[in-house]
Assembly symmetry: C2
Homo-oligomer: 236 residues x 2
Amino acid sequence: MRRLYEIGGAEDSFRPSPYCWRTRMALAHKGLSFEAVPWRAVEKARITRSGGGTVPVLVEGDLWLGESWDISEYLEATYPESPFFDGPGDKAKARFLDHWITLTVHPVIFRAVALDQFPMLAREDQAYYLERTKRKFGQSLAEFCGDPDAAIAELKPLLQPLQSTLAEVDYLGGASPGYGDYIVFGALQWARVASPRRLYSADSALARWFENLLGAFDGFARAQPARAHWGNPAPK
Amino acid sequence: MRRLYEIGGAEDSFRPSPYCWRTRMALAHKGLSFEAVPWRAVEKARITRSGGGTVPVLVEGDLWLGESWDISEYLEATYPESPFFDGPGDKAKARFLDHWITLTVHPVIFRAVALDQFPMLAREDQAYYLERTKRKFGQSLAEFCGDPDAAIAELKPLLQPLQSTLAEVDYLGGASPGYGDYIVFGALQWARVASPRRLYSADSALARWFENLLGAFDGFARAQPARAHWGNPAPK
């Protein structure tokens, strides 16, 4: 049986991690079923066989594999049908998208949604993240995040290259989604799941593209409850 | 005979435009020779047949075509050998790179190099650009640019996703360059031609990649004089 270790919240079904969403969508793209295993950031011992301390971790038989990019390469090599990439140039540019989202976009989304997300996390992870923020930045989480509206204002120019592109093409994969789409999707799904705040206009090209991906694979990603996003009620 | 209208400077051979460099490299990639026609920003009347007021403009027989992206699509369709793109996903992501460079990177490079570039421009274009900056921003060019070192400091995090990607792959096109590489190359070649300032570390992955592209097509792009860049002397 295939298993995917993922960040879970106080409730097991809360799934905010952008990196885990990349891998979830990648598995759905390949038509591969999996058992979703909730995991908390403090539970390093449960995933030592992956060689790392973060999730996603994919387990297939004796293989324990971490790092979402490495998992995408493994899946593409092992299950070549329905490819993620057109070829090596497409893959190199998807990797650029990965670094761009991780280095440039995620930190701003974090400041926009982390305070909304915090009460949804497991109690032991709340303490872990507070301690880590204090240690790395010498600040409380609230100090580190500052005004979420300021972060949302920063996002607008940051996301404009995506808006301009998605006004012209259906997907970053062309006529159908590819792994590059799932990299970007993970960031916006994180925001949808963790926070009721609207990060971009509901009538924008990015919103249209996101809605299409929420509906992909029989609505696989839409089945994850939104946090009162786009008017949906917050989960209990 | 194929012609390419491009921004020229006080000296005809000064070629700073990042968009024109994309097209120059694209033509070299396809093995297509062309007559390089220097043009100044005030000479709108010379390119009316393109339907626009900016260069590059490619002329082939009766065709007058502007906009670097449209030119790349035309060249790919007309000369399919040595493709620019792996397929539609690669092309969509190259278009993302185009919007990202244009919206996010070019404005910062402008503030880093425009004051160095200014004396190299044709006298009539100097007056044109000063007037335009005053009209659009209510500022002199020097006020608009501010401290070039501040712009260079901003560039470092902005370029980090490229650095991280090019530390892992040879080109954004994979094992060999594609049009996505030329989009990024245009920005750095502009800086190399227009200014003696160093925008990124000479021993970085980005610098290695740029040097490889300067050497491509028998050193086509290296033949363009640098502005005392990497220790080269400024042109007379």
